[in-house]
Symmetry: D2
C-alpha cells in the first residue's frame, strides 16, 4: 500500500534489460554513442518532428537546464505558485540561471488561468531597467495537483506568451499520464501547441533515472548553449549510453503509454474507492494522482494499517499510483476504508 | 584497439546485476533507501573510518560539489594547471562555487611540487580584502598525466595546506589505480594523509555512472550544506537506489581493486610494447594510462590500423587501458608497432 | 512642482561643503580615512550603540549587500510583495546572494501583517532539503506606500523572525522620515527593536549619494564578509573619504532630522491640499510621500500644468516631497486643484 | 612624501566645483539628467566618435561590468597574470560574469606578448564543450607595472583577438598618463586600434570617484545589457548628475591631460632622483609610476623619513605620483637618498 510517490517504484524490467544490452564493448563517451542517437530518433518519431535533446537523471536538472537556456540572469520565469520549480527544487532554477526570479501566479488545481496570465503579460516591460521582466512561461502537465491541460489550453497560454515575447517551457514529469487521460498525441500537446522546450519525464513512469530535455523548432538553435550548461553542471556523464538506452526502451513499442495507462487506471480505481468511502476529490483526477479530503479519522486509520501517502498543503491528502501499483494494494487500502 | 579512454568501456556485469537486484518493490526516494545506506557502510569498511557520502553520476559533478562545500564564492582553489577541474570541466567549479577562482601551480607529471606550494601558501592573506585567498588545495591521484602520489606525498602537501588554513580535496577519479600501483590502503591515501573530502571514482573503473563524494572527519559537518547543493544542482535523482546499488557492487569482495589491477596490468604490458618499439615514456606509468613520445610515423600508422588514442598537449600521446581491455587488443597494437 | 521623487532633489549645501573640506591633502584609500571613521562615530552616537558600517552610493547596493551577508544562495528572504527589493532593484538581491529567492507576503500599505508572518514562519523548515527556507525577514520603514511602522511593530515582527532563526534586515531608505513622524529614536526603531542590519538612507534626504549599511550586535561578526562582498561588487571606491564626509555632514547637528521634518511637513501640507480638493488618501501619510486617489480629470489637469508625479499600481497617484520642496510649489499645485 | 598611490590624492577643485554647480533644482534620476548627457557629449568629442557610456565610482566596477557584457558565464577572459582584474579586484570579474574564468598570460612589464597571445588563440576552441574558450582579450594601459602600450601595439593585439572571435577590453584606469607619454590621441589608442569597450579612469587623475565604461562601434548594441547589469549591481545611483558633472569637468578644456602631464612630469623627476641615487628602474617609467630596485638600506631610510610607497611582488618598490604631487615632496625624498 505504497502510495507515497511514483518515484518510490522500481524500474521497469525492459528498461534495465536495455541497459544491460547497451553494456557491450567500447562506445564513444559524452553522448556520441549509438544508443543516445537512437533515443533521439525515437523521440522524433514519437513527437512527429525534428528535435534536439539532452538526457539527464532528474527532473530538477531537466527543468533548471531548460529554463537557464531560455531566461537570462536578469529575467524572470512565470509559473504557478505551486509549481515544482518553485516549491520543490531548492532554488535550482535560480542557481542554473544565475539568479533569475520566479514570478508567481495562483489558480485552481495548480493551473494558470488566462485572465491572470493576460494581466501579468500586459504589465511586462522589457525595456524598463528597474524591474525584472518575465522571459519564460513555464507550464506543468500534469499540474502539481494532478490535473491535466488539454492541448487547446496549452495553446491558448502559449499564444499569449509568444505574443508578449516569452518562450514556453513545459514541465512534463508526468506528461505520459496527461496524454493518456486527454487522448492527445505528443505533438498536439507540445510543439503544435507552442511549447518551445519540453522536459519529458521517464523516471516516474518506469525508468531508472532519465528525463529528456527536448528543444523544438527555433529553440533548437540553443542546443550548443544547452550542452555547455549541461557539461558545466556535471550532467554530461561519460557513459551516456546508459541514459540513451533507458529512453530508447521507454519509447519502444509504446511501453511508456502502456505504463502510464496502467498507473492512471490504478488511480481511477483508487479514487473510486476513496470517494465511495466518503472522501471528496480536491482536484480532478486526470492522471495517476488522487487528491482527496478524507473523512475524519481515515488518514490515521490508513497510516496505522501501513499505507503510505502524504498530507498536502491545502488540507487534502495525496495518493500516487505508479506503473507498478498492484490491484491488490488498492483492494487492501479499500478494505481499510470501511 | 580502443585506448581512447577508460570511460569508453562498458559497465562491469556485477554492477548491472546489482541494479537489477535493487529494482524490486517500492523504496524511499532521494537517498533514504537501503542500497544507499549499504553503500555508505561498504565505504566505511573500505576506508576504515566513519564518513558521510553522496553519490553522483559524473566526476565533474563530484568535484564541483565537493569544492563548493569547501570554498566560498570569494575564495580560490589551488590546483595544478593541468588538473581536470581546470582543463576539462567547462568551469564547473566556478559555477558551483558561485564564482571562485582556480589558482594554478605548474609541476612535472601534473604533480604539485612542495616548494611551489610553500611559496604560494606563504603569500596567502586571508584578511586582505583586495586579493582572493586560496581556501582549498585540490590534488588528483592519479594525476592527469597518470602519475601517482604516494601517501606520504599527499600527507606532506595536506600538512602545508592545513597549516595555512586550507581544506584538502582529492580528485580520485582513478584512485583505485593509484592504490593498486602504490600498494597503499584507502585510509592511508586519504584521511590518514589529511584529505578532507574525496571524490571517489567508480565510473572509469566499471560502474555505469557513479562517483562518491566522501566527507571525512570535521568535513562531515558540511553534509547538510552538501545535500542542499546536490539538490539544487539536480544531482538528487529520486531513485537513488540505483546509484547505491552500483557503489555497493563496486566495493563488494574487492571488485574495484581487481578491476583496477586488471587495467594497470594492461597498461604495463602496453607500455612495454610501446617502449620496446622505441617510444619514450613522457610520464611515469603509475596506473592505467600510458603517455609516450612515439617515434615518427607511428601515430599515423596505429590510427590507420584502427587504434584509438589521443594526442596530449605536451606532444606525447595518451593510451588508456580499462578493466575491459583485452590482452589481444594490446597484442594487436603491438603487432602494428614493428 | 516636481513631486516625482525625493531622488530628483539636489544635494544639501552642507553635504557638498563637507566633501570640499575633505578634499585636502593625501588620505588613505578604501575606507581607512578619518572622514569614514568620523562617520562611523557619528552613527554610533546617533544610534546609541557600537556598530560597524559600510557606505555605498545607492540603496540598491546597500540592500543587496546587506541581504547577501545574511542569506545563503540556497535560502530565501521574506519581504512584502511591494518591497523595493522585490519590485525595483532588477533582481539585485538575487545577484548578490548568488541566487536566493524572495518569498513574498502581501498586506495593506505595504506592511507585513503578523498573522501572515506567523503562518509563513510556522511552515518554514530549515532541515528539509527540497524546499527553500527563509533566512531573513526584510522590513521597510517607511514602507513602499509611505506608511511607518512604530518601534513596537518592528519589535513584534523581529521577535517572531528571531524565534524562527531568521535575521532581520531593515530597508531604511526613508528612515529619517519615519523617525520624525513616529517620534521614535534611531535606537528604538532599529537594534532595540531587533534589527540586525540596517540600510540607512541619506541620498533621498539630502546627500549626493550615500547609504550606510549598519551592522548591529551579533551581526557585526559579519563585517569581514560584508567588506569582501563590497570589494567584489565594485563598491569600495578608493576615495571613500567623500562618502564618509557626506555621512558625517548628514548627521551633524541633527541636519538629517531637520531635512526629514521639512519634507514631512511639506507632505502633510500637500496631503491637506489634495484631500480638500476631493482626493482620498490611499495610504497613511506617515512621511514625505502622499498616495491619493484623485477625482476624475485632476491628474491630467495637474500634468498639463507642469506638475510631475507618478501613477501607482493600485490606481492611486504618488506625490513625493523632499527636503528641497518649497512651499510655493505646494501652493502652485493647490492652485490647480480648484 | 606620499607616493603610496594616486588614489590617495584629493579631488581637483574644478571637479568638486562642477558638482556644486550641478546641485541646483530638481533633475531626472538614474542618468537621464543633462550633466550625464553633457559628459557623454564631451567623451564623444574627446574620442572623435559616437559612443555609449555608463559612469561608475570605481575601476573595479567599471572593469567587471564591461567584462560581464562581453563574456558569458561559461567563457574566459584572457589577461596578463599581473592585471588588476586578476590580482586586485577580489574576483569581481568572476562575480559579475556569473563564474567566467580569467585565463592568464605572463610577459615583461605586465605586457602581453604577441607570440604567447598567438599560441593561446590558436588553441582556442569555441565548439569544444569540455574546455572553457576565451571570449575577451583584456589589456591595460598603463600596465600594472607602469608601462605604456603604443597604439600600434594595441592594434596588433586587438587584430589577433578579433580574428579569433574575441572582443577587446581596455582597462584605462591610467589611460590619460599613457596618452600623455606616448603622444597618442584618445581615438588612436582605443577604437581605432580595435578596442571594443574601454574603462576610462578619472578617479586616479583628479575625480572624486568616476570611471566611464565606454562602448565603441558594434559594442554599442550591448548598452541595454550593460544598463541592466549596472542596475542589478547597485551602480545606478539616483543622483547620477553628480557623476556626470565630474566627468564633464574632467574633460573640460583638457583638464584631464593637464593633470596627467603634471603627474607624469613628477614621476620623471622622481625617477631621475632615484636612479641618480643608484636605484635601477624595474620597469619603463611611461606614466606616473616609478618601479625601482632600491640600493640596500634605502627603503628603510625613506620609510623612517616618512615617505610612503609600496614593495612590489618582483622585489622592486613602487612610487606613484599624482596630479597633486608637489615638487617639494620629490625634493624632500631626494634629500633622503643621499
Amino acid at each position: 500500500m505504497n502510495f507515497s510517490s511514483d518515484t518510490a517504484a522500481p524500474a521497469h524490467p525492459a528498461i534495465l534489460e536495455a541497459m544491460l544490452a547497451a553494456s557491450k564493448g567500447p562506445a564513444p563517451s559524452y553522448g556520441a554513442d549509438p544508443w543516445t542517437a537512437a533515443a533521439q530518433k525515437s523521440l522524433r518519431d514519437a513527437f512527429e518532428t525534428d528535435l534536439d535533446i539532452w538526457l539527464v537523471p532528474s527532473g530538477t536538472a531537466a527543468n533548471a537546464l531548460a529554463l537557464a537556456t531560455l531566461c537570462p540572469p536578469h529575467g524572470a520565469i512565470l509559473c504557478h505558485d505551486e509549481a515544482h520549480i518553485e516549491r520543490d527544487e531548492r532554488g535550482a532554477p535560480e542557481f542554473f540561471t544565475g539568479g533569475a526570479k520566479l514570478s508567481l501566479l495562483s489558480g485552481k488545481h495548480a493551473r494558470i488561468e488566462l485572465p491572470a496570465l493576460k494581466r501579468k503579460l500586459d504589465a511586462n516591460r522589457h525595456d524598463f531597467v528597474h524591474e525584472t521582466p518575465v522571459h519564460v512561461l513555464s507550464l506543468s502537465n500534469l499540474t502539481e495537483c494532478g490535473a491535466a491541460y488539454r492541448p487547446f489550453e496549452i495553446a491558448e497560454r502559449a499564444a499569449l506568451a509568444h505574443a508578449a515575447g516569452l518562450a514556453v517551457h513545459l514541465d512534463g514529469a508526468r506528461l505520459a499520464n496527461a496524454l493518456v487521460s486527454t487522448g492527445a498525441s505528443p505533438a498536439e500537446m507540445t510543439w503544435r501547441a507552442g511549447v518551445d522546450v519540453l522536459c519529458f519525464g521517464a523516471t516516474k513512469n518506469g525508468a531508472v533515472g532519465c528525463e529528456a530535455i527536448i528543444l523544438f523548432g527555433a529553440a533548437r538553435q540553443r542546443l550548443m548553449d544547452l550542452k555547455v550548461r549541461v557539461k558545466r553542471a556535471g550532467h554530461m556523464p561519460p557513459k551516456m549510453r546508459f541514459l540513451g538506452a533507458q529512453m530508447g526502451a521507454y519509447l519502444k513499442d509504446g511501453l511508456w503509454l502502456d505504463l502510464a495507462r496502467r498507473a492512471n487506471t490504478s488511480a481511477t480505481r483508487l479514487a473510486d474507492a476513496l470517494t465511495r468511502a466518503g472522501a471528496e476529490l480536491a482536484h480532478p483526477c486526470d492522471g495517476n494522482e488522487v487528491f482527496v479530503h478524507l473523512p475524519e479519522g481515515i488518514a490515521d486509520k490508513l497510516a496505522k494499517a501501513g499505507a503510505t501517502f502524504y498530507p498536502w498543503i491545502d488540507g487534502s491528502h495525496r495518493f500516487v499510483c505508479s506503473w507498478a501499483t498492484e490491484p491488490h494494494e488498492i483492494d487492501a487500502l479499500a478494505g481499510h476504508l470501511g
